[in-house]
């Protein structure tokens, strides 16, 4: 019997709330975090086909962090620090009581430090003064800056890793943390997903890729509409989620409150296409099956799916097709929702936010609404999808996450039974 792994603390920085209580209340109320982008100064907003995003407005790291802690890192890493701080406090996890080499940090990040990255690149190319590139440019844009700063903030000296698989990054971070604890290389892992790249260049890149919603610039809160017939692309978001994972024994020893067990995980590649999934859904289905097998549960035992559901035409339909392949008639008995309908697609943070939502769903029995499901697409029909909040006792949750680069992840959470 392999080591069991549990979640003991949660943290969130999101467009609908900073802090788990604020986030969860807004999620259950079905509040949208999507708003108009006021400006990409000095670039003309008309040059952007999409002009909306799930932005965190007026974020000031000093409001949440010890003075100076977030000074030398980019916005995404500041989000990571804030989420990690909340999760550690929530878990009542005190580093001074731990063997620091047994505490790891695994961060999922898709884009990384693009705020400074873009500024420095722009200045270099405009001003042609290489000696004026900021000395912190490299440490900031190196993708492991968030995992580094989180470990430094708390003295966590175990495995310190960053996983970058685009939109599935922090679902893999969750899974890899589970593996590290199962393998006995850590007693606990601070898992974080974070991204903050609603920046002129990255945003333009996603526009050019024709990945973003463009039909709802005048009604931002309507734009992120997974599974709805009117969906036309994802809405970019930003934020961070954090989860404290521990071995069951370690959590029990320190009498920690447990949200859920991380029971299974699968990572696959479709080896198919850089940005689109296989349309038959077979690879996504395989990923879900492998994660369920790893968790030792059958499809019939699953109650809830936190869908990847980005609100793209192809992606949402493929995911539902795959759910039907795996769950057959059970598919319509599952509760399903799409967290991205609330906050947009937070890229590297998405898997961790799905983890937070799923943990809260298992403990509360509350399924947050899927916004803008006004005209359900028959290609995405599932009886357990709802624009309203649902109450349903759930014991097993499945998280889906798919990323550019033909990358899939699935994570299974189980309610903790005493």
């Amino acid at each position: 019997m392999s080591t069991r792994v549990v979640i003991t603390g949660l943290g969130v920085v999101s467009p609908i709330g900073i802090g788990v209580p604020q986030f969860w209340k807004a999620a259950l109320e079905g509040r949208s975090g999507i708003s108009a982008i006021p400006s990409f100064d000095p670039f003309p907003l008309e040059g952007y086909r999409s002009r909306i995003a799930g932005r965190i407005v007026d974020f000031s790291p000093d409001q949440y962090l010890p003075a100076g802690q977030g000074d030398r890192v980019d916005r995404y890493a500041q989000f990571a620090l804030v989420a990690a701080k909340e999760a550690l406090a929530d878990a009542d996890f005190k580093m001074e009581r731990e063997n620091p080499h047994r505490v790891g940090v695994i961060v999922g990040a898709g884009m990384g430090g693009m705020v400074m990255g873009e500024r420095e690149i722009t200045q270099l190319y405009e001003q042609k003064r290489p000696h004026r590139v900021h000395p912190n440019f490299i440490p900031v844009i190196t993708l492991n800056s968030a995992s580094g700063i989180v470990a430094m903030a708390y003295g966590a000296k175990g495995p310190n890793l960053t996983i970058s698989t685009a939109c599935s990054s922090s679902a893999h971070a969750l899974g890899q943390a589970m593996h590290a604890i199962r393998a006995g290389t850590a007693d606990a892992v601070i898992v974080v997903g974070a991204d903050a790249s609603i920046t002129p260049l990255v945003f333009a890149g996603f526009c050019s890729l024709r990945a973003l919603s463009t039909k709802y610039n005048a009604a931002p809160e309507k734009a992120s509409r997974p599974f709805d017939r009117g969906r036309d692309g994802f809405v970019m978001g930003e934020g961070a989620g954090a989860l404290i994972l521990e071995s069951l024994a370690h959590a029990k020893k320190r009498k920690a409150r447990m949200y859920a067990e991380v029971a299974g995980y699968a990572a696959t590649s479709e080896a198919h296409h850089m940005v689109t999934p296989r349309e038959d859904g077979e690879e996504v289905a395989t990923t879900m099956r492998l994660a369920l097998k790893d968790a030792g549960v059958t499809p019939a035992q699953v109650d809830y799916i936190n869908a990847h559901a980005t609100s793209t035409t192809v992606g949402d339909a493929v995911e539902v097709k795959a759910i039907r392949l795996v769950f057959k008639s059970r598919a319509d008995k599952l509760a399903v929702n799409a967290t991205k309908s609330l906050v947009g697609h937070t890229l590297g943070a998405a898997g961790s936010l799905a983890g937070v939502v799923s943990a809260l769903t298992l403990t509360s029995g509350q399924i947050h609404p899927t916004l803008n499901l006004d005209d359900p697409d028959p290609a995405c029909a599932l009886a357990g999808l709802s624009k309203d909040q649902q109450t349903r006792k759930a014991k097993v949750a499945l998280i889906n996450a798919f990323g550019f680069g033909s990358n899939n992840a699935a994570v299974v959470l189980k309610a903790v039974s005493s």
């Binding site: 100076g68 000696h131 004026r132 912190n136």
Partner: protein
């Protein structure tokens, strides 16, 4: 001397902004690491600001002697003084070939850089 005061106050001001503390609490005798708590990366960031303020490029070999606020002031004075008396800014832009500043002077006269016209 006006220039000296100017250089000194600009440097202390830049340091104060970087450290988020009052300029009056910083004196030339302060050691950058021991007294002001700047680690090696922070010293580099601080000098990056000072380079901008004085439109300087500080070569790597000159960093070694810059351990106190006074060293930095003396070094910058040495670098900007010729430029303010001569007509062009060439002197300031050129690496430290004729830098009279104390910290740099401790080192053997800097080798002309490969690209130096004098070579």
């Amino acid at each position: 001397m006006a220039t000296t005061t100017d250089v000194s106050s600009k440097i202390i001001q830049a340091l104060a902004e970087y450290l988020k503390r009052d300029a009056s609490s910083i004196t030339p005798t302060h050691h950058l690491r021991e007294d002001l708590g700047l680690d090696s990366m922070a010293v580099i960031e601080m000098l990056y600001r000072i380079e901008e303020v004085f439109n300087l490029q500080i070569p790597d070999q000159d960093l070694v002697g810059l351990t106190t606020v006074g060293h930095v002031i003396a070094y910058v004075e040495g670098r900007v003084a010729p430029a303010s008396t001569k007509t062009a800014a060439k002197g300031a832009a050129k690496p430290s070939a004729k830098t009279p500043a104390k910290p740099a002077a401790k080192k053997p006269a800097a080798k002309p850089s490969p690209k130096s016209k004098k070579a």
